[in-house]
Symmetry: C2
Subunit: 285 residues, 2 copies
Amino acid sequence: MEITTQIFHGDSKEKLKLLADNSVDLIITSPPYADQRKNTYGGIHPDRYVEWFLPISEQLLRVLKPSGTFILNIKEKVLGGERSTYVIELILEMRKQGWLWTEEFIWHKKNCYPGKWPNRFRDAWERLLQFNKNRKFNMYQEEVMVPMGEWANTRLKNLSETDKTRDNSKVGSGFGKNISNWLTRDKAYPTNVLHLATECNNKNHSAAFPEDLPKWFIKLFTKENDTVLDPFMGSGTTLIVANRMLRNSIGIDIVADYCDRVKKETRAVELYLCETKARYEKADS
Amino acid sequence: MEITTQIFHGDSKEKLKLLADNSVDLIITSPPYADQRKNTYGGIHPDRYVEWFLPISEQLLRVLKPSGTFILNIKEKVLGGERSTYVIELILEMRKQGWLWTEEFIWHKKNCYPGKWPNRFRDAWERLLQFNKNRKFNMYQEEVMVPMGEWANTRLKNLSETDKTRDNSKVGSGFGKNISNWLTRDKAYPTNVLHLATECNNKNHSAAFPEDLPKWFIKLFTKENDTVLDPFMGSGTTLIVANRMLRNSIGIDIVADYCDRVKKETRAVELYLCETKARYEKADS
DNA sequence: GTTCCGCATGAATCGATAG
DNA sequence: ACTATCGATTCATGCGGAA
């Protein structure tokens, strides 16, 4: 099957109207933060951030499939020595629109921006808010499993008698375990805390997040030939990764230069994939 | 100077009224989360959590010094497949009371609760909300800096295998610093992400958080002879640590048994300190 | 004294079943 | 329909006893 990439140049609020209802499997985006990136997006004042975003999230709710997921990467800025409240107000308002606030992942930025202030430390994390239309949605948990801790090697080497049967907690927490079930495992499910470095090899554009971030969510919430949308494409990390992972992708950005560059990059990936495919077919014959 | 420990048995909302205005340097507490700890605290329904907490935070605002800090450890539970919103609603309401929401630290729980669900992963983090009365407050950042020498010798050695295998850039080191940024310096400032394991070994009581957690905030926001308050004392981790660090401490709890136990433990620390002092004096002579 | 190793424990959440 | 209870699921840690 053919993988497609669609790029729209213009205002997200308007361009989203061109997309069909229930047509997207995963939305993952990092919108311009309040008063950040003024030079490219004009900057939205913290007080007006919620009203600016709500018409967009309304469209996103429309285009997302019932089984789909919306991942919103955002962090409130400091204003007058305080954390702004527009992010938490946004959560409350989006729920009124019909979104379910399913989960909040933490992106721990391992090499966060250096600096020193008299009354705060470096900010080393951002929110990854997960919203859904339904309690049931597609989630492919096995795709993102991680190696089990080293403790397993020693712990599972010699099993005691209690390990071989279900051992219920003595304190009535309702928690029990059967260690012998773990013998064949070498992987564990991850948690809702993601440890990723920020990419500092930015090519003079505002790089929102490292490739591993959209990659992880695309693996977790989509399968091949599904459709991924980023309404604030920027340098196009999400689209480029989606493309490479054989997902259809849709990007919107108000900056023409970004649109051109991402078009070029995704085409390059498509060419590469074609070539690889051709090589495989040649090898097969 | 003499260090004092005051323990009140009863309802926080009432007992707090006994404390003087502007008399506390640091409040650090972990109130019962909504619908948790039903057996000891009765459980507060998520819908009523905010109205339950506001009279208490009003008293806390009164007793805190203008230069003081309030650290609130809390996490919303899942209800009907969604994250409850009472925590973020609480932030908005506390601001209306006059609190400044200065910062949000993340406590990354390295050994979080196990389990598997079709639509979510294990929850590995909790909020540590920082509130203040003024933009200017006491903060002793140097106290929580970690000497690189010590870091290399102790923390590096203690890195768990999990951290190494999952993550070759040393996530679990101290409080989220990146060694490569600080190689040339003697000490590193931490970030707002704290990596700590919960203490869950059998001490036949429910320990809210590991000792390192209050210890870190007490070092950061107080100096010797300052006063630390925990209005939901529980097993008394905060008070015991404060006591040991030569801070005055005030604790409140509705469970008589906790009050008795903490009284005993803090007295033991006082005796130990006296004895140590006596030994030093003897050695000096 | 170290190091090794066994083991109970934990602010959980979902789905099914029962009242 | 709506709420309460119960069983099933699952990691990583620090303690303490043993080597």
